[in-house]
Symmetry: C2
Subunit: 323 residues, 2 copies
C-alpha cells in the first residue's frame, strides 16, 4: 500500500512541493519557478514540481496515496476547482481533476489560508487546539478556522475571508470597492499607503529623506523605520495593529478559539512594532472563561511553510489516511 | 421505549416548558412564574413547570427520554453547569445534574442564543442551512452558530458572545468595561440611551413632549416614534442597525453562512425602521460565491419560542435520539 503523499503550495513566483510520510513532517522538498505565461504553463510548473520531487526521492506516481494543493485564491474544495486566483491569472481551473488524471491518485485543493491553518494545527503553533483561528497578514488578510481538526469552509467555501469585513465604515476605500475593509487598514499595502499618505500631508519621517519620492515606500520600509524608532512609522504600525486586534477580538468572541495564530509577511516582518500593540489591545480584553484573550495568541511557527505543510496534511485526507 | 422529551426555557420572569415527540414540533406547553427568591426556589419553578407539563399530558417521568434547558447566561454545556446567569442571580448551578437526579433521565443545558439558533435550524427560518448564524438583538446581543446541524460552542463554551466584540473602539462605554462593544451600540438599552442622549443635548423629537423627562424613554418608544416618522428616532434606529449590519458582514466573511437569522426583541419590535437599514447595508456587499449577503438574511420565524424549541431539540440529543 502507498505510504507517501505530496503537498503543493502554488504561489505567483514559486511552486513548493513536499513529500510526506504516513504521519509527521515533510521528508523532501523542491521549489520550482511558477510559469505564468498561460494556464497550461502554470499547470506544467505544478506537474514539474511533483515530477522532480518524486525523481529526487526515487519514487513513482504509484507510490503516492494522495496529493494536496494550497492555492492563493477562491477554491471550490468540494469540486476541486480554483474559482479565481488573481496572482496565477486563473479562473475556473479544475486543478484536482488535472492532478488526478496525471498521477492516478486522489487529489484535493484548498485556499492557502485554510491550509496554513491546517498546517499550524497539525505541525505548528496550533497543535492540539480544539478551535484554532489562523490569521495571515501580508499583501492580503485572510483567516483559516480549524475545529476539531477539520477546516471550517462555510456553506460556499468562502469562510475566513475577513480581509473584506468592514471594520471602519468611513475608512479608506478598499480594492474591492467597499470602504474600511480590514485589508484596507492592516495589510502590507495599507501600512505602506498610510505612511505615504502621512508624508504627503507633510509629516516628518526618516522614511523620506529630503528630496526622495514617498511613492516607493513599502511595508518593509515602515517596519524597519519603526524598529529604528521612527515616530511616524511606529504610529502607522500601531494603528494597523489595533485594527487587526479588534478583528481578533471579534473572531475570539464569535468562535471562542483556544488558540489564535498570527502568520503572513507583515506579522513576521514587522516584529514588535506590530505585535506589541496587538498584544496590548488583547490584554485589555478578558475571555468569558477566565483566560485573557492575549494568552491565546501565538505567532506562526511554520512561517512560509504553513500552507505547504497544510497541503501535505490535506493530501493525507485525500488518500483517506487522516481526518 | 420512551417517546417524549421536555424542553425548557428559563427566563427571569417565566419558565416555559414544551413537550416534544420523537420528531417535529412541541405538542403541549406550560408557562409558570420564575421564583427568584433563592437558587432553590428558582429550581423549584423549573421542576414545577416540568411536573405540570407531565400532569397535563398524562405522562410520568418514566415516559421521558431526555430534558433540554435554555438558560440566559454562561453555560458549561459539557458539565451541565450554569456558570453565571445574571437575570436568575445564579452562579455555578449544576442544573443538568439536578434535573437528572429528580427525573432519572438524561438532561442537557445550553445558553439561550445557542438553543435559539438550534431551534431556528430545526423548525424555523434556518431549516436546511448548512451553516446558520442566528443573532439575537434585545436587551443584550448574542449569536448562535449551527454547522451541519450541530451547535458550534467553541473551546470554552463561549462562542457567539458577539455583544462584547469591540466594533467602535472610541464608542460609548459598555457595561462590561470596554468601549464600543456591539451591545453598547445596537442593543435595546443602547438605542434608548442614544435617543435620551440626543434629546439631553437639545435635539427635538416627538419622543420628548415639552416638560417630560427623557430618562423614561425605552427602545420600544424609539421604535414607535421611528414608525411614526420621527426624524431623531429614525436616525437613532438607523445608526444602531448599521452597527449591527457591519457585525453581520464580519460574521458572514468569517463563517460563510448560507443563512443568517435575526431574532430578539429589538429585531422583532422595531420593524422596518431597524430592518431596512440592516438590509440596505448588506445589499451593498457581495458574497464571494455570487450571492448578495442580503439574500441570506431572514427574520426569526419562531420569535420568543426559538430557545424553547431549541431546548426540545437539545433534549432529543440528551436522549440519544438526534444529533
Amino acid at each position: 500500500m502507498s505510504r507517501w503523499v505530496v503537498g503543493l503550495d502554488v504561489g505567483g513566483s514559486k511552486v513548493a512541493a513536499a513529500l510526506g510520510g504516513e504521519t509527521g513532517v515533510a521528508l523532501a522538498r523542491v521549489r520550482v519557478e511558477t510559469d505564468l505565461s498561460s494556464e497550461a504553463a502554470t499547470l506544467e510548473s505544478i506537474f514539474g514540481a511533483v515530477d522532480r520531487l518524486l525523481a529526487e526521492a526515487g519514487l513513482g506516481a504509484g507510490d503516492l496515496a494522495g496529493i494536496g494543493v494550497a492555492v492563493p485564491g477562491e477554491v471550490d474544495h468540494r469540486r476541486g476547482t480554483v474559482r479565481r486566483a488573481v496572482n496565477l491569472r486563473w479562473r475556473e481551473v479544475r486543478l484536482a481533476d488535472r492532478l488526478r488524471r496525471r498521477y492516478a491518485v486522489p487529489a484535493l485543493c484548498d485556499n492557502d489560508a485554510n491550509l496554513a491553518a491546517l498546517g499550524e494545527w497539525s505541525f505548528g503553533a496550533g497543535r492540539e487546539a480544539a478551535v484554532l483561528v489562523y490569521v495571515s497578514v501580508g499583501t492580503g488578510i485572510g483567516a483559516g478556522i480549524v475545529v476539531d481538526g477539520r477546516i471550517h469552509r462555510g456553506a460556499g467555501g468562502a469562510a475566513g475571508e475577513i480581509g473584506h469585513a468592514v471594520v471602519l465604515p468611513d475608512g479608506p476605500r478598499c480594492a474591492c470597492g467597499l470602504h474600511g475593509c480590514l485589508e484596507a487598514l492592516a495589510s502590507g499595502p495599507a501600512i505602506a499607503a498610510a505612511a505615504r499618505d502621512a508624508i504627503a500631508h507633510g509629516r516628518d519621517s526618516s522614511l523620506r529623506p529630503p528630496g526622495t519620492d514617498p511613492v516607493a515606500i513599502t511595508a518593509s520600509d515602515v517596519a524597519r523605520a519603526a524598529a529604528a524608532g521612527d515616530p511616524l512609522a511606529r504610529e502607522v504600525m500601531a494603528r494597523a495593529a489595533e485594527h487587526l486586534a479588534y478583528a481578533l477580538i471579534f473572531l475570539a468572541r464569535t468562535l471562542d478559539p483556544d488558540r489564535m495564530v498570527l502568520g503572513g509577511g507583515v506579522a513576521a516582518g514587522a516584529g514588535a512594532a506590530f505585535l506589541t500593540p496587538v498584544r496590548k489591545a488583547l490584554e485589555g480584553v478578558a475571555g468569558f472563561t477566565g483566560h485573557a484573550l492575549a494568552d491565546r495568541l501565538a505567532i506562526s511557527e511554520l512561517g512560509e511553510d504553513a500552507g505547504l505543510l497544510g497541503a501535505v496534511q490535506l493530501a493525507r485526507t485525500a488518500g483517506g489516511r487522516g481526518r
